[in-house]
Each structure stands twice: as structure tokens, then as C-alpha cells.
């Protein structure tokens, strides 16, 4: 029994496939289905080949898949590019009037297999701008979505435009739906959904931004870089309402230094970037460590080195995040595995940064940043109030920003809120913040700063474990690999394998007592990560002294799917891959 359907909208950049995809995803969610959207795009504004894949069904759906059940081919190239991914009963929507020779041949070939549905786009919508709506109407009808849901959505979406624009869109939608009703061919609609609850349709970047807002972030400086820009854009759109300043800096170096300046003066600050930008920021990260200034960085990974594959995904920057910055100072690195965790862990990061008075890095990647899921509204009442600096002290004239304390955390005051003076220095400094070359003080200051790592370690978020108490095979992952690994583990469990999954949502500092026993108990440990050298497995070896049995690695720029993991595990698990296919078809 097929659990989900995968709808692939494919075409050139600039054809509006994200618009039609988002409308379709929202319509599915409002109708009561689960969605999991993954996006593929090239580093160009128009042209090229872009995809917007909506996996949908009754759920749970935790990852994307590559098999395609409904291909909405906005250009003809999309048919040949994705032919191999089409399932046996797949349907391809093509423009009936396309005259290109090759395209006609492609369409004919699919028609022979009964897989092509030639849609008369020009007839249903004489103006090309409405062709998207035709695709939406036909797809919605094929999937069996209620007509009022999609009509309402189109009305809402175009409400800001003139009335006749709304009406034109609705008319085209209705024409397309009516046409599809006559030509729905062999396509199986989705099963009846449960009564829909109100859910958000959110991507990782937006969830990070919401988490930051919920934690009271008041300042964001950024230099645009894919795939992290969406965090800044979401914050920027909310800036006026939520009372924060968002500034596009002249470069990444300016961005992080601005954020540190803002944090020093009392604004909880966040800096989103990707690998190359993060690399430029490393001196600033060191500055946050030395000056003990709270700072949250969001590192949306993409494949490197250098400019790499700018719009694809990878988990190749773990070592960069672990070691970014010269000298020794504490930091925390959080690695959300889902949209929900993007929200929650960014909120946590703001608090952690304040408590440890230093940098906290939230690592996502293009896959997670652009993944869209339906999630219930976040329960704001359940969120703890993040820690905040004091604004006054009893003896302002005796105040010392870097006073030695037992746990290394000095009372943090803000400049200009009283008679006290707040002196910060990137040079080694005395307790009152002034430059010193006294080597005894240097030693104590190093110990004071590193002492804060103990606090971070104690507060470390335990990895999430899914599975029976004892597992024969333990899959280990961090960050965005959670979804596909979880799905793979569940498929194996259904097959009778005893598989556990250990997901690290914090990769630094690690607290071995939270997981080491579990690693030791498993007969086989397999670390699944999106890089070529097994960086997390290396960290476990170095920091915890545990060597995993083997690693499953992906570094071609595409995200893992459950099928990828099962294929790699095949050697050990025998029928796993077959079983996956059986479940999916």
C-alpha cells in the first residue's frame, strides 16, 4: 500500500514553480494532508532546471523521496530529466500545444504508457501568466482536493491585487478544474484525509526566524548568502512589528562585528550566513569568545569548499563550526533535525548565548532551510523566558565586567544604563576590562573563559533516541539527516530488524554520559551524515573515544532519502531495500 504521493513541479527558474508549489502545499495542508517539500534549484535567476517536490499523504512524512507520482512539467525538458524517477502509474502533465519536436516525442512516449496528460494550457488560460493556475487547478482536481479550499486560497493570495485579477485567477482555476474532471485519466486521488486542524506551512529558515523572535532577538545583521538569507528576510519583514533592527551589512565581517556591538549594548543579536560567510566571520566569533559577548550564528550549510555548489545541500561545515576562530574559548553548536527543532533550538540558542556569554551556532543546511512542512502552531506558553543581562548593580563604581567568579560567568551589565562602566577588550584584559600583559592574569582569564564550557556541557541537550531499549543496529545522525534516517529505521523495524536511531541536536559540547552507553550496547553503529569525510564520526572518536562501525556518507549536493540509506545498508540487512520498495508501491 502506497503511503504517500510525490508531486514534482519542474521547470525553469522564473516560471513561478515555487508559487504554484506553495499554493498546492498549502491547499493539501488545509485539506488535512501532511506535506514534506524539498526544493532543488540552480545558481541563476532565470532558466536552468528547478524543482519543487511535494510529498504528501496521510503521514507521518519525515523526508523527501525521489520517486515521482505526478510530474507537473512546466517545460518539456523536465519530462526527459525526470523520466527515470516516474513510478509505474505516474502521470505527467504536459502542455498539449507544445511544438518542440523532442518534446512531442517525449510526450508521445509517455502517452504510449498512458502516463501523459496533455493539458490545453492556452485554451484554459489565454494569457501565459495564468498557466500556473491551470497547473494548480488540474493537479488539485487529480489529487481530489476540495474545490472550495483551493478557490479560497487563490482568493487570499491575490487579495492584495485588483478585484479583476482575483476573479481572472478564480475563473482560470475553475476552468482548469472542470477540464481535469473530464480528463482525470487513471490517476488515483489521495485517500480521504482526517478532519483538518490549523497548521502552519513553514520552512526551516522561517522556523529559525520565528524561534529568534520568540526568544526576543532584537538585532540581525547579515550579508546575503544562499541558503541562509531567508532567515534575515523573515526577520526583516517582522522588524517593524516586533521591534528589531535588521541591517544588511557591507560584508560578513561587518555583520558579525555589528551584531557583537549590538549585543554588547543589550540587543540579543543573531547573524545568519552560510559556509563562505561563516569563514569570514571566524575572527568575529573569536572576538565574541574573548569579549564574552552573547551571539547567535545561524550557519546554513551548502557544499564547499569555496563557493562549491551554491544552491545544493551538504553537512560539510561541522569542523568549521567546531574550530572557527583562533585561540581557545567555549561555544555551543546546536543542530536541529526538523522544522519544529529549527524553532525550538534557535530559541534555546538565544538563552544559551546569554548564559554562557559567548557564541552559539545553530547549524542548518539548504535541505532544512528550504524544506517545508505542516506543523501545529508553536506553544508559546511552554517556552522558558530566556536569560537577560542585568541593567543595574549595587556598587556601580566597583563593577568589573570580567570579575573572576566560581563558574567563570561574570555579571554582565550593559553600557549606559547606570553609573557603571562596561569595558570590553579583544586584547587579554584585567577583571575591569583593560589591556594587560600580566601573564598570571592571562592564565586566570583563560581558565575563567574555559570554565564556562563546563556550564555549557552540563546544559547540553541530550541526543534524541528512537527505538527499543536495546538495538542491534544503531543509526547515528545529526542535524537535517534526522528525517530520512528516522524513516529508514522505521522501514527496517517493520521488516523485523531491531534498529535504533540516535539523533544529535547538539554536537558541541558533548556530554558522553547522555549517550555513550547506548553506543556501546549496539551491535553495529552506523553514522549517517552528509559529507565525504565523516566529520561527526570523527568528533565522536576524538572527543568521546568511540569509533562507529561504519559511515554512510552523501556529498553529491542532494539530501539523503530513506531509500539512499537503505541501499547503503543493504549489505547488512539483506531485504531492506526490497522492503522499502514494497512499502512505497
Amino acid at each position: 500500500m502506497r503511503l504517500s504521493k510525490n508531486i514534482l513541479i519542474a521547470g525553469e527558474a522564473g516560471q513561478g514553480l515555487v508559487t504554484v508549489g506553495m499554493l498546492l502545499a498549502k491547499a493539501l495542508v488545509r485539506s488535512g494532508y501532511e506535506v514534506f517539500v524539498t526544493q532543488g534549484y540552480e545558481s541563476r535567476i532565470r532558466g536552468g532546471h528547478n524543482t519543487f517536490a511535494v510529498r504528501t499523504g496521510l503521514g507521518p512524512i519525515r523526508a523527501g523521496i525521489r520517486d515521482v507520482d505526478l510530474l507537473i512539467a512546466l517545460n518539456q525538458e523536465s519530462i526527459s530529466l525526470h523520466r527515470e524517477e516516474l513510478t509505474e502509474n505516474a502521470l505527467v502533465l504536459v502542455d498539449a500545444e507544445h511544438e518542440d519536436q523532442g518534446a512531442t516525442r517525449d510526450a508521445d512516449q509517455e502517452a504510449k504508457k498512458d502516463r501523459a496528460l496533455r493539458v490545453p494550457f492556452a485554451e484554459l488560460a489565454p494569457q501565459k501568466v495564468f498557466h500556473n493556475i491551470v497547473a494548480l487547478g488540474v493537479a488539485a482536481r487529480l489529487l481530489g482536493l476540495p474545490e472550495n479550499v483551493i478557490t479560497d486560497l487563490v482568493r487570499e493570495t491575490f487579495a492584495k491585487k485588483e478585484t479583476d485579477v482575483v476573479e481572472k485567477n478564480v475563473n482560470v482555476l475553475q476552468a482548469a478544474t472542470a477540464w481535469a474532471a473530464e480528463h482525470s485519466a487513471t490517476f488515483q486521488p489521495l485517500p480521504e484525509p482526517p478532519k483538518p486542524a490549523k497548521r502552519m506551512v513553514l520552512n526551516g529558515n522561517q522556523a529559525v526566524a520565528l524561534g529568534a523572535l520568540a526568544a526576543g532577538t532584537r538585532f540581525c545583521a547579515f550579508y546575503p548568502m544562499t541558503p541562509a538569507t531567508g532567515v534575515a528576510l523573515t526577520l526583516g519583514a517582522a522588524a517593524k512589528d516586533f521591534g528589531l533592527v535588521v541591517e544588511q551589512a557591507e560584508d560578513e565581517i561587518a555583520a558579525i562585528n555589528m551584531a557583537i556591538g549590538a549585543s554588547y549594548a543589550g540587543a540579543p543579536a543573531l547573524v545568519p550566513t552560510s559556509g563562505g560567510g561563516f569563514a569570514l566571520m571566524t575572527e568575529g566569533i573569536s572576538l565574541a569568545g574573548m569579549t564574552e559577548t552573547p551571539l547567535v550564528l545561524v550557519l546554513g550549510q551548502r557544499p564547499g569548499p569555496a563557493t562549491g555548489l551554491p544552491t545544493r545541500t551538504e553537512q560539510g561545515d561541522l569542523n568549521l563550526a567546531l574550530y572557527a576562530g583562533h585561540g581557545e574559548f567555549p561555544r555551543a553548536i546546536l543542530t536541529p533535525g526538523s522544522i519544529e527543532e529549527c524553532f525550538r533550538l534557535t530559541h534555546t540558542a538565544v538563552d544559551m548565548a546569554e548564559r554562557s556569554q559567548g557564541p552559539v551556532i545553530v547549524m542548518t543546511d539548504q535541505y532544512l532551510a528550504d524544506t517545508i512542512q505542516a506543523i501545529p502552531p508553536f506553544d508559546l506558553e511552554m517556552l522558558a523566558e530566556p536569560s537577560r543581562p542585568a541593567r543595574t548593580c549595587d556598587e556601580p563604581h566597583a563593577y568589573k565586567r570580567y570579575a573572576f567568579t566560581e563558574d567563570g560567568v561574570s555579571p554582565r551589565l550593559l553600557p549606559g544604563t547606570g553609573e557603571h562602566l562596561v569595558v570590553l577588550d579583544s586584547d587579554e584584559h584585567t577583571e575591569d576590562g583593560h589591556i594587560t600583559e600580566d601573564l598570571a592574569i592571562r592564565k586566570r582569564m583563560v581558565e575563567k573563559r574555559l570554565g564556562k564550557e563546563r556550564k555549557l556541557r552540563e546544559a547540553a541537550l541530550a541526543p534524541t533516541y528512537i527505538g527499543d531499549e536495546q538495538s542491534d543496529l544503531l543509526l547515528i545522525c545529526w542535524g537535517s539527516t534526522l528525517g530520512p534516517a528516522d524513516e529508514a529505521a522505521e522501514i527496517l523495524r517493520k521488516e523485523g530488524c531491531n534498529v535504533g536511531l540516535l539523533h544529535f541536536r547538539q554536537v558541541w559540547p558533548l556530554r558522553p554520559e547522555q549517550f555513550l552507553e547506548r553506543l556501546r550496547q549496539a551491535r553495529e553503529t552506523v553514522c549517517v551524515e552528509g559529507n565525504a569525510t565523516g566529520q561527526f564520526a570523527g568528533l565522536l572518536r576524538k572527543d568521546v573515544g568511540f569509533s562507529v562501525s561504519r559511515s554512510i556518507l552523501r556529498y553529491d549536493g542532494l539530501p539523503f532519502t530513506a531509500a539512499d540509506i537503505l541501499r547503503e545498508l543493504n549489505i547488512e540487512t539483506g531485504r531492506a531495500q526490497e522492503s522499502h520498495e514494497a512499502m512505497e508501491r
Binding site: 497548521r199 526576543g216 562585528n257 549606559g416
Partner: protein, 284 residues
């Protein structure tokens, strides 16, 4: 009423006879004359001998990275517009390493007073050419003479329509103190480029060299007239004009573009759950 003494007296790590001493004196006088208390003042600096200045007077200090004083100062000012923010740095820090930030600061127009101790040489790293070292001047690192054209920060600032551009001289501390006071009073980004002899490494641009050349800008100069300002700004050679070259309040400050800052500093505000709920609904 604050006095110079409120800003303290500290031991310094500067060479005897350094131009920095009189700049520090002028700065303290300007702060006292402006009626500022130490806790209202934030001095932001980068790295270099000039960048040590904030350590030698009582005030809030952010002594950050080489060349990065302006971004840090910008962040602090945006987080708390109530702070009186001064950037204190040298020519290498501001115009070399921080060149991009200098250009961006001129464009932004944040209400910051930027004081550049311009000694036309790298002092802390012991004598290499800086962006303002004159073309052809031999240094330890450029024995055949500095190969690049000297950067003229004052011309660039005027060209970029900066609101307040002045040139001062460490050899005239009272005159300089008045320039700093005026720069601080200016609503917007204010640059004071300060001619500062480096007694250890710059044997060309000495006290005597500057003293021979500087002349007070005449009273009939209209700093609001951009063309006049441009003409003065370009003078750097046998005669170097000092004083206020450009003054024009017509550009709004950067801060004024952020409505959220009209309610005061960004700290102490709690997240608005009702608005967050509304925002979440917009994603449904």
C-alpha cells in the same frame, strides 16, 4: 557638570613625544566641554596605538578587532541610540583594514563621531606604509618608496556627502578639542581626521612638517557649500587646511530610518506573544 578630571588619568604605552598624548587631552576636554559623564560615553576602537586611547580615560569601552571599530560602533548605537558613541582609531585601522566599513559608514550616516589618528604610517607594527602614506615615501617595508597613491579620507568623505568632515592637528590640542566637540554635536556621522606625528617611525611627516603646512580654514569658508568643501578637502601638500571643511545637516541619520528606535534602546523589551501568534497564523 563634568570636568576633565572625571575622565581619569592613566599610565599609557605610547612613546614619549607621541602625537597621541595631545589627542587624548583634546578628547577629554571635548567630552567635558560637551557636558558628558563617563558612563554616557562609549569609545569603540580597533587595533593600533590610536586604538588604545579608550583604555586611557574613564568611559565605556569596546576595544575590538583591527579595522572593525565602525561596524561594532554601528551595532552598539543601533542597539542603544542614547549612547554617545565615538570611534577612535588610526589610518591603517580605519582606511586600510576597515576601508569597506569606512565607505559604508559614510553611506549610512549613523550618529557616530569618528576620530582618526592619522600619522601616515603603521606604528604598532613598526613602520610600514599606511593608506595615507604619501606616494614614494620610503619605509621599512617599502624601501623603494610607497608604490600606491595616498588615500585622502577627507576628500572621499566630502565626495560621499558626509555631513561633518573636519581635519585637526595634534599640535593644536585646543583647536582639536573644539573640532571634536563640534563633531559630537553634529547629528549624524562626523569624521575628524587628525594629523598626528609618529615620532618613532615617520621621519617625514614630523611635528615641524605639519606645523609648517597647516593653516586655519578662514572664517568666510562656507562648509555647507559642497564645491567649496571639495576644493579645501583636496588640499594636502604644501598647505594643509585644518578646521571644519564640510558641515551639512540635511541628511537624516541612519537611526531615524528605524521606527523601532524611536521608542528608545532595544534592550529590556519582551517578546510579544500576541504578535507572534498572529505571525504564525499568517503561515496557515
Amino acid at each position: 557638570m563634568t570636568t576633565i578630571e572625571d575622565f581619569g588619568e592613566f599610565e599609557t604605552a605610547w612613546c614619549p613625544g607621541c602625537g597621541n598624548f595631545s589627542i587624548l587631552k583634546a578628547l577629554k576636554k571635548a567630552l567635558a566641554d560637551s557636558g558628558l559623564a563617563p558612563h554616557q560615553v562609549l569609545l569603540v576602537s580597533g587595533i593600533g596605538q590610536a586604538a588604545k586611547t579608550p583604555h586611557y580615560l574613564r568611559c565605556n569601552v569596546f576595544n575590538g578587532l583591527h579595522g572593525r571599530a565602525l561596524p561594532a560602533a554601528t551595532g552598539a548605537k543601533l542597539a542603544n541610540p542614547g549612547l554617545h558613541v565615538f570611534v577612535e582609531s588610526g589610518d591603517g585601522c580605519s582606511y586600510g583594514e576597515g576601508g569597506n566599513h569606512f565607505l559604508a559608514a559614510l553611506r549610512r550616516n549613523v550618529d557616530i563621531t569618528m576620530l582618526v589618528h592619522d600619522n601616515q604610517i603603521y606604528g604598532l607594527t613598526k613602520g610600514q606604509a599606511s593608506p595615507t602614506t604619501l606616494h614614494g615615501q620610503a619605509t621599512k617595508a617599502q624601501p623603494q618608496g610607497a608604490p600606491s597613491q595616498a588615500f585622502n579620507p577627507v576628500t572621499v568623505a566630502v565626495a560621499m556627502q558626509a555631513g561633518f568632515v573636519a581635519r585637526g592637528f595634534a599640535g593644536k590640542p585646543d583647536h582639536l578639542a573644539d573640532l571634536i566637540r563640534q563633531a559630537h554635536a553634529f547629528p549624524g556621522f562626523a569624521l575628524v581626521d587628525i594629523l598626528q606625528p609618529c615620532v618613532s617611525f615617520n621621519k617625514v611627516n614630523t611635528f615641524a612638517w605639519y606645523t609648517e603646512r597647516v593653516w586655519d580654514i578662514p572664517e568666510d569658508h562656507d562648509p555647507a557649500d559642497w564645491s567649496q568643501a571639495m576644493t579645501l578637502a583636496r588640499q594636502f601638500g604644501d598647505r594643509i587646511p585644518i578646521g571644519v571643511i564640510r558641515r551639512d545637516e540635511s541628511r537624516p541619520t541612519f537611526e531615524s530610518h528605524f521606527p523601532v528606535l524611536q521608542e528608545g534602546p532595544l534592550f529590556g523589551r519582551t517578546p510579544d506573544r500576541a504578535k507572534l501568534t498572529q505571525l504564525m497564523e499568517s503561515y496557515m
